[in-house]
Symmetry: C2
Subunit: 151 residues, 2 copies
């Protein structure tokens, strides 16, 4: 029963995901100037559902291994930063501050993928979609911030 902790990591992920339901993009986001590589709106909930499930599964997998303290500390940091980003961007609409949160999240998830990979190869691989998506999200946050100085 190595995945017995999955429901607890999933609860944390649900708290993070809830921000996307509470702080919706709406008209404000629709009217922002966005770069050509902006994913369509439907891609965001799909990507995040996959990412939250995989990262909770990976955490449950490594949490029972000896020496997982650092990896789980990093998992805690990423889920708090992840929960923070959406209210900052879509709630307070402070895109520069959101960029700071996003940069911290990207560095944390990179360290997390490395820490998970050194405990369990599969757990490390399960974080690659998260890391890839954060690459896109960082570029998007940056461009939208720079291209909409008045928003």
């Amino acid at each position: 029963m190595t995945l017995g902790l999955f429901p607890i990591f999933l609860l944390a992920s649900v708290a993070a995901a809830a921000t996307g339901m509470i702080f919706r993009p709406g008209v404000w986001y629709a009217e922002l100037r966005k770069p050509g590589f902006t994913p369509p709106n439907w891609a965001f909930p799909v990507a995040w559902t996959v990412i939250y499930l995989l990262s909770a599964l990976a955490a449950a997998r490594v949490a029972v291994l000896p020496g997982a303290g650092m990896a789980l500390a990093l998992w805690s940091a990423q889920i708090a930063l992840n929960t923070l980003w959406t209210p900052v961007f879509f709630g307070s609409r402070r895109m520069g501050l959101a960029m700071v949160v996003m940069a911290a999240l990207l560095v944390t998830v990179a360290a997390l993928a490395w820490a998970f990979a050194s405990l369990n190869g599969w757990a490390g691989l399960m974080l690659l979609p998260y890391l890839a998506w954060l690459g896109v999200a960082s570029a998007l946050n940056w461009r939208i911030w720079r291209d909409n100085p008045a928003a």
Copy 2:
């Protein structure tokens, strides 16, 4: 060096604490009808600073112990729920939904205190201020929600 993971748990706590600086109570909160046991405004940042420091220290203490997976999973869940509460209450001003988040947080921190205490007595004790403050915060969220049906 048993507290080597403290900076990472502190980073997670800083993300949670940032919500209090980004979503401020302001005029909306000042004008709400509040119960007699409402703490003065200055008490909130003082209490949360103590709570975040103690809970990050306790997490760093237990993270290096064998069998800490469940405790650290619960720590992740509490920091995500904690980060979620402020934007929901002060950002979206959905006090009923904030009450749901607060109830989930209270149950999670109660389980966390128990999980920490079973690994290390001091770590369990270090969560008691958090649990006590959440008791006050829950009662406050509930009363403000019920006493301000129009807000």
